[in-house]
Symmetry: D2
Subunit: 227 residues, 4 copies
């Protein structure tokens, strides 16, 4: 199915060495994409523009932003935790979009997919900072998704949780029997979503077959959130 | 990507001559599936079991159930409209699942995808009967999706609206300038979702790449509902 | 606050001896309402019209419909369970609304509140029949809520779960230590919502203070569903 | 109903001269509360702690945070707009909660209600900055609501839109016939929610009658969002 291939598509992937980065490179390239896999920090306000400037033509931005999730209790959330989390996960989004928008408009097409978190859709203990930042991502993607839809520019967001990745579910966590019990109890799927399953869904959303989705939130979390 | 092919999969498609039926046959077969395209009415309580009985091995059921949507005002919803709508859209679901479940269990795998409606997620005027029936579908799929997840049986539901199809958006509707205005005003995408786009998403969900989704609701409606 | 009183309001309450019935009578009357507490079965298609006919003027209908929730596995859901559940929980809704609508319109005001279930919003095992019926209620209320909003007729629905009531959480369930553990593990509130808390929210929604809500779903489930 | 009174409750209200501030003072005091109506900016990181320090005992915090909503197109969202919006709407939340938490815990009870926006739940054009900040509020409230529920500390959030208030719907907007048309077309209620209706719902949620709600999002937007 030609609409499923990513042949000829240039995909800019951020934080490519963290979170879903490595598996995304593998799966997106296997489906034909040219992946510009960037590993720079995007905290500097000018970094996104510089990144886009050196990336060459970009058809799709996969905003894969990650930090080790703070697990502070409410009373222990400090100013640095808060500002660092937003600086890493939230602030780069409008800068990335602004930077890439001119070429999207010139081409009359473009896509941004945000690798977000279902922690923004369902409350959990000791994740308030992280959830807040992920909530900003989702609401932002819904708004810009609606705003840009008529220009053939599609912005959508994946809301994932319980997906196998080294940033949030490293081996040390997975090996913990209590974590495995929690997985069986709380996640209908009864296992982590495989990194590859998540990446293939990303590949699908990057393909032309998925050009009908705009401003939409897709949970990928083994049924932990159902919509 | 081998996980995306439907080679070797036998997909039972109901009401195959209505709603998304024709395009589903085309797209699913193009991706390698064998489609058992049934066109019988499923209103008779025994029809689903008979259908499954004669279908041979079935890996996936695509429950594509449709009737012309009644557009009665609340005060004009009659007993026949109500019972006919539930008989066509809702009652066949548990019967289909019961009928196919033994072979799913024997094989340790199986999938059902319900072609549902976003009318169940967002209220509209003059659709109360239809919305109620579609709401039953969604809540049912969420429940059985959770119940069967551990057996490698995945039940999910597409909540579509503003998708091009002859049952709900025939040419006569699409040609109406007021409908086109409504589309531009109410649907972020600004156009109908193409039948083929919807069918390709179905194909994706039927593929092994999507084995991580259970009990989930996927809006396909041009951003009219965002999650 | 005069908008909070129910003085002078005549509230028709169905299945008044089951589910939230008894506590609703107590709380609604304490806030000044005249409660027409009906205990008849509404399964006969003509029963809602007869009920409204003999009730006299009705300002608000509280559609409190309940049956002992079947807890069959998917494969054990029988035809009778299915049809009985829909006959008890779903089919009376449009009949009740049709019956009361003429006097609502004559008066230029009216309200219906459906006592629904959060089981329609989040899947659980062995509740497929019940969830489906409750899902029909919610989608129906969203649709008619939108349709009738401009006529000052408000239809809304409470999506409750883990609320103390004899129909779904009888003493035998509450005394079970495993149930108490489940409550602590799955329900953020850590306890059942008190019957009186639920009833007071109903009283609030019945009051003129809440005339701004239309077609809306209100979870009342101790945070088990957050919206 | 004694649970509905706010007698004896000390409510700290922020930005009391903006957004829902004035009507909240009126309605909360009319129901018996002592309102500590603060009008200071909370942008200084130390401001929330100072505010709580001088407020005396506080039973409930109503986090009414507002700024004139920027209506920039995506390409015009500047660094200052972005950082100002988060500084005003988002960053004060964890600081307020941290400041008030010790006395909540000492008392074994406490409440925070965030006056948030439905713009975080449904995308709109030219609101990306504002929506993102409001999305952070909602996800944060869901997370801390779950975390603190067992301590009898309830955090919930109202997601409002189309509520009459001078910050977002000043007379100049309301007088615009195009706005009135939009209201009739897009908002099922067909009118703005009255300021007083919103404030009464806040009063309800502040009362002991509503002690069963934790981490929950309540849309108040005339049916524009249904849950």
């Amino acid at each position: 199915m030609s609409e499923l291939t990513l042949n000829g598509k240039r995909i800019l992937l951020t934080h490519a060495d963290a979170f879903m980065g490595p598996v995304l490179i593998e799966v997106l390239e296997a489906q034909g994409a040219t992946v510009i896999a960037d590993t720079d920090s995007l905290r500097d306000p000018d970094a996104p523009e510089r990144l886009v400037g050196r990336a060459g033509p970009v058809d799709i931005v996969v905003a894969n932003l990650a930090i080790p999730a703070p697990d502070s209790r409410v009373e222990d959330v400090g100013e640095t935790e808060w500002s660092d989390t937003f600086a890493a996960l939230v602030d780069p989004l409008p800068r990335l979009l602004r930077a890439v928008l001119p070429q999207f408009r010139e081409r009359g097409a473009g896509k941004m997919l945000v690798m977000g978190s279902a922690a923004a859709l369902r409350g959990m203990k000791r994740t308030s900072t992280y959830s807040a930042a992920r909530g900003a991502q989702i609401a932002w993607a819904q708004a810009v998704g609606v705003e840009l839809a008529r220009e053939n520019i599609r912005v959508n967001v994946i809301a994932q949780n319980f997906v196998d990745n080294p940033t949030y579910f490293p081996a040390s966590v997975q090996e913990n029997p209590r974590f495995q019990e929690r997985l069986k109890r709380e996640v209908p799927l009864g296992r982590l979503v495989a990194a590859r399953e998540d990446a293939q869904f990303v590949a699908y959303l990057c393909s032309d077959a998925a050009n009908c989705f705009v401003g939409q939130v897709f949970p990928v979390c083994g049924g932990w959130v159902q919509r």
